[in-house]
């Protein structure tokens, strides 16, 4: 709760810029515009509160910034299982959460799901190096399976609560290990198998505090960082080991 309140301090109107379209008026109001990752960050709750007109189903799609991952596969060498070949996967979102008031497959036909990117295993992924179609397919399947198992891709039809067919609150739980960048939130109103209202918004996740500074230093000035940090480690070890020893002897 305290974290949520702090987030509110960054004041924010999530979902301000892009007006909703379509016949169904849809208002979605404040969650936060920024999530800051500090050293003790262990994930956070995001809330979206909104209103719609009349009974309908809702889908909220949360899409993380694209992420480059390396997928590796173990192979058998004699009796040993060792690291084998690997590929890079690019342009797939780091996180894909689909929240809905009912299982998405039951409220939207596959074509519509495809159109709005509402299939967990349907996001386009670029595999490097280019492989034969069936080989690439294996890697893609593994990619989606791992993402789902690690909890970065999932569908949840219990997180949105609707009150009196008008007001809704969505509780979205973000994991602790978040990719830094811009997250898109798309809210869709669904009636009889069609999307009739849509609202777009976004929020940013960034590193804050000492973690960010150390991180930037380690990457932008890696040699200077290495030198200073090693010196710091030596001084710390010296202070902890040698000084108490001198005092007692």
């Amino acid at each position: 709760m305290a974290r949520w309140l702090r987030c509110l301090l960054f004041v924010s109107i999530w979902m301000l810029p892009l007006p909703s379209w379509a016949d169904e008026p849809l208002v979605v109001a404040p969650g936060t515009s920024e999530v800051r990752i500090t050293t003790d960050f262990a994930g956070t709750e995001l809330k979206a509160i909104g209103s719609m007109r009349g009974p309908a189903d809702l889908i909220i799609k949360l899409v993380g910034p694209p992420q480059e991952v390396t997928l590796s596969r173990e192979t058998k060498l004699g009796p040993f299982w060792i690291g084998g070949d690997s590929v890079k996967m690019e342009s797939a979102p780091s996180l894909l959460f689909l929240y809905a008031t009912a299982p998405i497959a039951s409220i939207l036909p596959p074509a519509e799901q495809q159109k709005y990117g509402l299939l967990l295993e349907g996001v386009p992924v670029r595999v490097e190096p280019h492989l034969q179609a069936h080989a690439a397919d294996d890697w893609q399947k593994a990619f989606f399976r791992l993402k789902e198992r690690q909890g970065y891709y999932h569908e949840d039809d219990t997180a949105i609560k609707v009150f009196g067919n008008r007001l809704f609150i969505a509780d979205m739980r973000l994991p602790g290990d978040l990719q830094v960048g811009t997250y898109a939130v798309e809210t869709l109103v669904v009636k009889s198998g069609k999307v009739v209202g849509r609202n777009l918004g976004e929020f940013k996740v960034r590193l804050a505090g000492i973690e960010r500074r150390v991180w930037n230093a380690a990457h932008d000035h890696s040699w200077l960082f290495g030198g200073l940090f090693t010196l710091l480690a030596m001084l710390l070890g010296f202070a902890l080991n040698a000084i108490p020893y001198r005092r007692t002897h």
């Binding site: 690690q150 990719q179 030596m234």
Partner: protein, 302 residues
């Protein structure tokens, strides 16, 4: 990478405890423990080097104050290990690009730990059961190997004397020894004391007191150089990981040294031997058991 801070602190304490108890550096235990936890091998190896630079600095200072460092020997060793360490860091980069670094590290560790663990186990079991009687069969064999190596080193060029240690030999001896240890520091995150110390005692015939001080001096500056190079070339030193390890190991060392003063030495060596063998067995088992999912995913850092 999300890792439990308390667990890392415990690892540091455990290894510090063992090193306080038995007097080994413990780098060869930190790296496999970190890899078991899921930390990428290159980060485990590099942060381990940073941690050792931290913990070796206090001990080196004390040996310097007691005049236990042969600086001439130490500097030649250091030139060797910096060259070896630099070569090792670039070798790590090449292996990383080929995606083979993890395999190489795991196999090197299985060989190293298996060798150290089994030989320690045999030695300490013998010592415990014969309760302190000097090991008559091992020593002559070691001395024979030592004298053969020494005769070979005596024929090398660049003969020079080391007044502090009271020995005379070719500068190539410590240079090559240093280089071998430097490569190991880069690839495995170990200080190399377990090779350096016996070679200096049995082959180079240096006094034990000077050996410990000199090898610590060499270890301090080798791990420091490797830590800087790993950060610069491979961006793989995790500052938080290394700091937590330093804190843990300092605490553990104090406890270990206090308890070590009360327990008999051969039992202590047996404990360490069992720990080393257990880690080696765990590594082999991980290699033999078919993985639950043959695929694995790593997020590229920026």
């Amino acid at each position: 990478m999300d890792v439990n801070i308390v667990l890392i602190l415990l690892y540091g304490a455990l290894v510090g405890f063992l090193s306080g108890l038995v007097g080994v550096g413990g780098g060869f235990l930190i790296t496999p423990l970190l890899i078991f936890t899921g930390i990428p091998p290159i980060v485990a190896v590099s942060s381990g080097a940073a941690q050792m630079a931290g913990t070796a600095s206090g001990a080196s200072y004390l040996h310097w104050r007691h005049g236990n460092i042969d600086f001439k020997m130490g500097l030649i060793l250091l030139i060797g290990s910096w060259l070896g360490g630099g070569f090792g860091v670039y070798l790590a980069k090449v292996l990383l690009r080929a995606g083979q670094f993890g395999n190489v590290v795991v196999f090197l560790y299985v060989i190293l730990l298996g060798f150290i663990g089994v030989s320690m186990l045999i030695e300490s079991l013998g010592a415990v059961f014969r309760s302190g009687a000097p090991d008559a069969s091992e020593a002559p064999a070691q001395a024979a190997t030592g004298s053969r190596l020494r005769a070979w080193i005596a024929r090398l060029p660049w003969q020079t004397s080391y007044p502090v240690s009271g020995v005379r030999m070719s500068a190539l001896g410590p240079l090559v020894l240093g280089a071998a240890v430097g490569v190991m520091t880069s690839l495995m995150g170990v200080g190399g004391g377990f090779i350096m110390v016996p070679v200096m005692i049995y082959v180079l015939k240096m006094p034990t007191k000077i050996v410990v001080g000199t090898s610590l001096f060499q270890l301090l500056f080798t791990t420091a150089a490797v830590s800087v190079m790993q950060a610069g070339v491979n961006h793989s030193v995790d500052p938080f990981l290394a700091l937590i390890l330093i804190l843990g190991s300092v605490l553990g060392t104090k406890l270990g040294a206090r308890l070590g003063a009360r327990l008999p030495a051969e039992k202590l060596r047996l404990i360490l031997a069992l720990v080393v063998v257990a880690v080696a067995v765990k590594m082999i088992v991980t290699l033999l058991i078919p993985p639950g999912d043959i695929y694995d995913m790593t997020v590229e850092v920026r």
